[in-house]
Symmetry: C2
Subunit: 314 residues, 2 copies
């Protein structure tokens, strides 16, 4: 397995922000950013740039909006080395006007997250970002709900109508197994060539790291992780596992362990993420984890049998 051109993107703050309405203290975000730079990660994603018309600034923290001045406060005084900064726009929750020209921003990469049904909105946002000077990706969410044929159509639209650098396979529901990943990476490569396939997995079935590993083996070019797997519901592939598996001198795991110890593990007192049977259940039934997240805030949260029966209809 060679990974000459492989890129690693850590999206701890962005995906983890789905567990705390993006309310991370700036000290935490700076520490994560600094660790990512020291570790030699290729990209670090600092949050969403979603519309303040659609999200209330009183209900959501700064990393749901990533105002330029907030991003500058994160990076100020930190040696970025070779690490580039990413933010995400949701196709159905973001607007082109919120993106400054690249020369006025610390951001390098804008990732457009889209369901297939929103591909037209994604194309508009992607073209807006590319026209303004950014690297761009389109991240196809909930991909386990899409047919091969529909994905062929969407990949054709992206190829014909945009100049994005990457297109991502996003397993929002943690429903894919290793064979599914091989099939999707090969399909994407048929459209995109050797360059351009990204992968982002969730850990509902304890397969996030394995699926990344298989995806890299079959030629994915950019791979997502989060520190200690912090992310929505069952969380993501731990970035530290990605690094240790690559055994590349380009990366250093130690700064990641330091920030995990100092900033991420203490968050477990407030936020629960990671493998948990209710999340496994939504994963195996190929469903959004929202039902499990809601169940886990209810009085019946410990009744996993009842949850299974409700979800399965048995």
């Amino acid at each position: 397995m060679t990974h000459t051109d492989l890129k690693i993107l850590d999206c701890t703050i962005r995906d983890g922000g789905l567990m705390n309405n993006s309310y991370f203290p700036i000290e935490t975000v700076r520490a994560v950013f600094n660790a990512a730079c020291l570790a030699g990660l290729d990209f670090v994603e600092l949050g969403y740039r979603n519309s303040k018309e659609m999200f209330s600034t009183s209900e959501f923290g700064p990393w749901r909006f990533c105002d330029e001045e907030d991003l500058r406060a994160v990076v100020e005084g930190i040696d970025r080395r070779n690490t580039q900064i990413s933010i995400m726009q949701d196709a159905h929750k973001s607007v082109p006007e919120d993106i400054l020209p690249e020369k006025d921003s610390v951001v390098d990469l804008i990732r457009i997250a889209a369901y297939c049904r929103d591909i037209e909105k994604a194309v508009i946002l992607a073209n807006n970002a590319v026209d303004k000077g950014y690297m761009c990706s389109i991240n196809i969410m909930a991909i386990s709900h899409e047919s091969r044929k529909r994905l062929d159509e969407v990949l054709d639209i992206i190829k014909e109508q945009t100049r994005v650098k990457y297109v991502y396979i996003v397993d929002s529901f943690g429903a894919l197994n290793c064979d599914d990943v091989i099939g999707l990476v090969e399909q994407f490569k048929d459209h995109l060539g050797d360059n351009g396939t990204g992968i982002h997995f969730h850990n509902n079935q304890q397969l996030a790291f394995a699926n990344n590993w298989i995806g890299m083996k079959y030629g994915a070019e950019i791979v997502d992780g989060t520190l200690d797997g912090l992310g929505r519901a069952a969380g993501n592939c731990p970035t530290e596992l990605l690094l240790s598996s690559l055994r590349s001198e380009k990366y250093d795991i130690l700064p990641l362990l330091e920030v995990i110890q100092k900033e991420i593990i203490p968050l477990k007192k407030k936020i629960q993420w990671g493998y948990h049977i209710p999340y496994m259940i939504t994963g195996i039934f190929n469903l959004h984890p929202g039902a499990a997240m809601k169940w886990l805030t209810s009085n019946e949260k410990d009744d996993i049998v009842k949850f299974y029966k409700e979800i399965s209809g048995k």
Copy 2:
């Protein structure tokens, strides 16, 4: 992927017993056994039959010894259906005299766990078990420390000198990745034919389920899991994930979820198992998890950075 002859073995009580000196209440063991029978599991392992000369009965609970009367108390009044009972003997900690003739026992399968260096002891115990009428396996522990050549020699010895039904790949350290598993399963099948390869993985790198999945795909015939992954250190592949991935009418996940809810999750108040960064560190350095388990009982347990530096020598 077809799994016509695939067998699933749950070893919750045996491997989990490494976290509590095999002190499970008999009600828990009966509940696990009953659930395994209702779920249609092929085998359930109820503990070790290790020597009372080598283990103190005041320091270890009944499931380290599995006296016949204790096993009978477990199974009494429970409809076994098609589920068979396994116990384990450690090659270097067990004696032939502790095994009754099969007709006087509720046990069906005796698994001999052995390091390669103890293969001669394992052969003696395996022949003893087969001669007394049992199905038998030899489980090669710490396999990530063995060369391909050494494994060829050991597999030849097993084939020539025993009549065991299965030989297991045991990743005691959670060090193997999916390619390693494919290579080992293929090597074992070269010696054993299509029948006889077993797999047992630990979750130090969140790969226990993925490695089982890949191992089954490449032709492993018998696969281990534990309920909610309960087992030494990072634990094992969750049996419920195995069942859900097979989507076979032979198995029913619901009885497993019921016993997990009632008996296994409450154990988390006393025993900590599952993915945790110190276990990840021993896994990536291909070391016994003992160092991490000891660290986690020390005053420095939260200092994962210091543990990494000690283990890596950096």
